[in-house]
């Protein structure tokens, strides 16, 4: 069983290498054809002469032909060097290593909130199709999709920070005057917990809640609608009728029989939603000044800073692959029919 899973994971990872390679090449070329010359951008000032710019270009290797540049870049990636950011002056790997946990923490929390809301809502809607509950859930989902995150984020800030005063100042991961946790994993909640600093933990959690809710609202719709549809299909299937004919208790039918089967397609959607959230949460990060990896990449893009953008795209592609493999493995564990093959 374990060996089979390991084989599967290995096969999937190996088979994703060509796709990752394609992503690297395409991003590389795209960055080069986009307007904007980093040498001009980073020259000492608008008055910098042509000679200075040329010298900078040479130093950055931009005067070489594109294929040579690509080869150099690929060689660097192979040795684990993703280049240096011109804006921060740091190695890209270091920057991302610091910012990725912030994004991941936000995304995981948002996903947890979204799932814990959307699955029960979807189940409720499916158990009473056409009822007021069903319509209410549908409306909530529609709202979540229609309202862009920068609007809903601002609304939440307005309501919970400005009017009610329940939420803390919506900037950054923790109050600027509070102390940050010891650097262990980079996830504040985990680090505070490890340091047994519960006051800091709750401060970080409260800081996290608003942006996480904003993101959760946005992905509520696909998860809840999928849960509802798949739950409806399962509730109408023969084995549910058979379970009812055998007098099983109602909650057992809904949870152990229907929901477990209905969650299989939801799991697939969750994987896709997670990857999308991680890459697309730049708006939320901007609204809440969240020092995440997406806003880092956006800043770099605006500055024609090649290395961070390329590294970001590569990272997203890699995370997408990993998430898909993880979903695949989970699927095999939940559904015995998959592992039979």
């Amino acid at each position: 069983m374990l060996a089979a899973i390991a084989r599967r994971v290995g096969r999937r990872l190996v088979s994703s290498v060509p796709a990752l390679f394609g992503v690297v090449v395409i991003t590389f070329v795209l960055m080069r054809v986009l307007p904007g010359d980093p040498a001009v951008f980073f020259a000492s000032g608008p008055s910098a002469g042509q000679a200075e710019i040329e010298a900078l270009r040479h130093k950055m290797g931009l005067d070489q032909p594109l294929p040579v540049q690509l080869l150099h870049y690929l060689g660097d990636i192979a040795t684990g060097d993703l280049g240096r950011s011109l804006t921060t002056g740091q190695k890209v790997t270091q920057d991302i290593g610091r910012k990725l946990p912030a994004s991941l923490e936000l995304t995981f929390t948002a996903l947890a909130i979204a799932l814990s809301l959307s699955v029960p809502l979807g189940v409720l809607a499916a158990l009473r199709p056409g009822s007021p509950v069903d319509h209410a859930v549908r409306m909530l989902c529609t709202l979540g999709v229609c309202v862009p995150t920068f609007v809903s984020g601002l609304l939440l800030i307005y309501a919970f920070y400005y009017l009610l005063g329940w939420a803390p100042d919506p900037t950054a991961r923790i109050d600027i005057f509070a102390s940050t946790p010891p650097e262990i994993t980079g996830f504040y909640l985990v680090d505070f917990a490890l340091a047994r600093d519960w006051e800091g933990w709750s401060a970080a959690a409260r800081q996290l809640l608003l942006p996480a809710f904003t993101m959760a609202l946005f992905v509520l719709a696909p998860l809840a609608r999928m849960t509802r549809a798949s739950m409806l299909a399962v509730m109408g299937s023969d084995f549910i009728r058979a379970a009812r004919s055998l007098g099983l208790p109602g909650y057992r039918i809904v949870v152990a029989y229907a929901l477990r089967n209905a969650l299989l397609p939801v799991l697939t959607i969750t994987g896709i939603v997670f990857s999308t959230m991680l890459g697309a949460n730049v708006l939320v990060e901007k609204v809440f000044s969240w020092p995440g990896v997406a806003s880092y990449a956006l800043d770099a893009l605006l500055a024609s800073d090649y290395a961070p953008v390329q590294a970001f795209v590569l990272l997203m592609a890699f995370i997408f692959v990993v998430v898909n493999v993880a979903i695949d493995v989970l699927y095999g564990i939940i559904d015995p029919r998959v592992s039979v093959e």
Partner: protein, 556 residues
Amino acid sequence: MTAPLLQVEDLHVSFSTRQGVVQALRGVSFSLGAGQTLGIVGESGSGKSVTSLAVMRLLDRAGRITQGRVLFRGQDVTRLGRSDLRELRGAAMSMIFQNPRAALNPIRTVEQQIVDVLRAHRSMSVRQARAEALDLLRAVLIHDPESRLAAYPAELSGGMCQRVMIAMAMACKPALLIADEPTTGLDVTTQKAVMDLLAGLTAERGMAMILITHDLGLAARYCADIAVMQNGEIVERGPVAALFQSPRHDYTRMLVAASPRRDSTLADLAPGLPRPQAGARNDGVRVPGAGPLLELTHVRKSFPGPVHAVDDVSFVLPQGGALGLVGESGSGKTTLSRLICRLADVDGGEIIFQGQSISDMPARDFHRAPQRKLIQIVFQDPHDSLNPRFSAFDCIAHPLRRLEGMRDGAALEARVREAAGRAGLPEGLLERFPHQLSGGQKARVGIARAIAPRPKLLVLDEPTAALDVQVQAVILQLLDRLRREDDIGLLFVSHDLNVVRMLCDDLVVLKQGRIVEAGASAAVFANPQADYTRALLDAIPHFEPACHAERESVAL
């Protein structure tokens, strides 16, 4: 005498559909004493399943009991609340279903599911429940019960799934068991084993049983009483022998006539139909045509795995002849039919059609072969084999457009109408889509599509398995007429020996890809040589009311 176990009084059920309210049951009344067996027979849509679901209160959201009572041990089931119903279901009355694999939860093991049932009704520890689950599996005679406990439904055969379902239905010793077409889709031999088990267990435990089936033979063999349903009403009810020997209602008479007996011929089944055109061939002795139409020599085919799907099969089908391929599922008959239609490639041997080998050409390229239009197939499921977005006309026109390159116009229309006419499909139905047609009409569309390019060989893969008996009778007669009038050779794939006997001159019995017996149908039927053939023949629930009555009287 005590009050009956189950008493249904004037039961009305209606379904609200998009087309409005449909009355499914119109005043059904019957009663059943403890330990009695009742068969409910009728065509699809007659309301037999709705009756059983209404008794269990398992109707889906759209269905509603509008009138009448269902008294179980004197208690009105139609008025029970949720929790009372839950206690009743599984413990006092339970049900087994048509498609056993779909009735089991695909992601829970057999043991978990049986334990769920036991613990839903009896306070027992998981350990005790597990021990009892094993006993139950032994009681339903599953091979190697210890290792089946950990199996998932997908790992079991259909027959085994039905045994597990029976084990679950009997787990809490209910007084009434409703079996809704429990063996449809199973092989005849499996059907016999499952039904014998069911009958044995219910008799042994003094349970009452309601058997819902469209197969009169099955009902006659396993039930003491029969109720005949039509259009949501019980039109006739009585003891098996009396009901079938002297049916009073017209509909019962028609059903009885349409059910094949040991000695019935095609003409007996649907007496109302016009006889095939009189001719020399009509007396059952068929003159072989000019030379063989199809010849198979040492054909082999294997899929990844230890066994051969088709192993060294040879036979000859004469021009305009009819040959039956008989066997259980897994015997290789469907694979063989796919090989002959050249939808799959042979691994060895040769298939010769009209004197020319057609097995050399890869299956992927065969659509270009001139023989493609001469070999046509009618599929098992009349519904799934039609494109839901094609009207009946387009379905029938499709092979003409693809194989003969015909363009829209009068010629195409004439050919489609001709094929539809020959298949007995009314012209008014040509514009309809598959979901607007009945099962029998869809079967006719499938046949019309197959005969449209004027083939010489028609491969029929259990074309009547999904049809009611009276529709089956009509379709069989139609096939027989096509063969006689158009000189089309028929290769009839079926597990129903009785149907094969009536339609085919010769038959080939397959087991695990090998031929175990071959010969003239009548001879094989009268005097089977192989044990396997005998088992197959023995398993057919022959509709012999007289024999049944005798057996009953001996037993009493």
